[in-house]
Amino acid sequence: MKTTALNAGPASSAAEPKQDSRQGSIRKTSRINRFMVSPSVLVLALWMVIPLSMTIYFSVIRYNLLYPGDNEFVGLENFQFFVTDFGFMAGMSNTLLLVGSVLLITVVLGVLISLLVNQAFWGRGIVRILLISPFFIMPTVNALIWKNLLLHPVSGVFAAIWKFFGATPIDWFSEFPLFSIIMIVSWQWLPFAILLLMTALQSLDQEQQEAARLDGAGPWALFFHLTLPHLARPIAVVVMIETIFLLSIFAEIFTTTGGGPGYETTNLAYLIYSQALLQFDVGLASAGGLIAVVLANIAAFFLVRLIGKSLTEKQ
């Protein structure tokens, strides 16, 4: 429809003068556009390549900060050690569980809540502010508040509510450790989803909606055929961005459970910390980091398959 393709093939030989200058301006714009993208690409490429190559190098040598000078080449020993760790399988599955659950919760609730606040009612502005507030709080503070003030089985607010209804308070971090972490992280990221989806809903075509409603479409039909497709791209963006962040969640686990009990809340990032960083084994940490990259790539591959189209398609 529109002239999006830059790689439009060479103009037909029967080109009119107008088309010639069009061709010239397209080539000119393509140069400008490469120029506009390249600073970012260059900067990010440097940022990726330098630490990555160092990491690759460190992952195949023996390098412990506390034993300097002892840096012989050991091939895949670091990888092998990392992968045979007792917590490795748990680390992998917890990472995926954590990411998957938080994505599900934030996207579903995000869509529902942004729909809820999409129509005008009294105090809507304030409600919107309240809804996006958790994202402003630092993750470590967030975790500490939840752990000590809310979820503590003796003095927490949840415990008080439970006791009010006559039930015994739950020891969240012992009985449902991973769920507790999922709760905390979802609370932190829900505002992000709400923010993006809320702003996207603002641009929903009202006339189309009215027309469809007059034609007799019910609320569900409206939702599935008009709203949801419109939200496809923002949802895709939320999913991709959240995934990248959630894969390396660290602060919340560090502050609350320290990966335990056992390995129940250990994800890959935390495993790297406790296995490698805690004893300053840079070689092991690098190997672990590369394995995390592989996992992230696999996750991204599947995600792109699922939602990649919505990303770049025009509505």
Binding site: S30, I113, G125, S133, T140, M198, V237, F250, A285
Partner: protein
């Protein structure tokens, strides 16, 4: 039987109540933190948790006495705004070209940019520390600005790209036909139209930089330490600390929270894509 209008307004009322309920529930932990910051340490840990108590400002005065809040706050401001500004200068052109001049490589480039964030910071701590040490960037605001720009750039590009995609090309083409240059096209037409989305992007980048607590702790000492370091200095000492921690957290999150609240109106107001249907 209610009329359509009555049903509609009842509906709106119910939705409103529900919305308020959800919002209050979500805001509750923050409210509780705020409340705790005005309690004494004993009250903070009291069972059952107290809603009513005699408030005190002692936590805030203590924080002010013990630490140089303004020094940390200034570092946070410089680092967050600095990295966001530089990031936007890089991101907006890139997103523009990818949104309106899409090539086969666009999706791949976008995904590749996101993949630069796949290495967990814990895994790459020592290489980065060594780089920073050798380039003299340890404990400098410049160093932090550089790192934050780099880690937030992919996100900024993605977000800007998303909002630019919402804008119909015809508007820009119309401007181009009218003879405006590329720069004018972006500055006079594109930016105002995507104001809301870009505001969200800027806000997001500010928040991410403001709250970033891994690099800011590991790459700074006393000179460039931002508010995250101030919070870290109140966590988990030997002794009761929840009231103090709540107070220092409130102080640390307040600037960005207030900024976000104010700009939130801009955000939502600026979103009317009305030029071309």
């Amino acid at each position: 039987m209610l009329s359509l209008k009555q049903r509609r307004s009842l509906n709106t009322l119910l939705m409103g109540v529900l919305a308020w309920g959800v919002a209050l529930a979500i805001f509750f932990p923050i409210f509780w933190m705020l409340l705790t910051s005005f309690k004494t340490e004993i009250d903070a840990f009291a069972t059952p948790p107290q809603l009513f108590f005699s408030p005190t400002l002692e936590n805030y005065t203590l924080v002010n006495e013990r630490s140089d809040y303004l020094h940390f706050a200034w570092n946070s401001v410089v680092v967050s705004f600095g990295s966001t500004i530089i990031g936007m200068m890089l991101a907006v052109p890139a997103a523009y070209s990818m949104a309106f001049f899409e090539t086969k490589r666009t999706k791949g480039t976008l995904l590749w940019m996101l993949s630069t964030k796949m290495l967990p910071p814990v895994g790459v701590l020592v290489p980065i520390y060594l780089i920073f040490k050798d380039t003299g960037l340890l404990d400098t605001k410049t160093g932090l600005v550089i790192i934050y720009t780099l880690i937030n750039l992919p996100i900024m590009i993605w977000m800007a790209y998303t909002y630019f995609k919402e804008i119909p090309k015809e508007v820009l083409e119309a401007a181009r036909m009218d003879g405006s240059t590329l720069f004018q096209e972006i500055w006079r037409v594109l930016l105002p139209m995507s104001k809301g989305g870009l505001a969200a992007t800027v806000l997001l980048s500010l928040i991410l930089s403001w709250n970033e607590a891994f690099w800011s702790l590991n790459l700074t000492a006393s000179e460039a330490a931002p508010l995250t370091a101030l919070i870290a200095s109140y966590s988990s000492p030997e002794g009761l600390f929840w009231a103090k921690l709540s107070a220092v957290s409130t102080l640390a999150c307040a600037p960005i929270l207030i900024f976000g609240w104010i700009s939130q109106k801009q955000l939502v107001r600026g979103l009317s894509f009305g030029a071309v249907k």
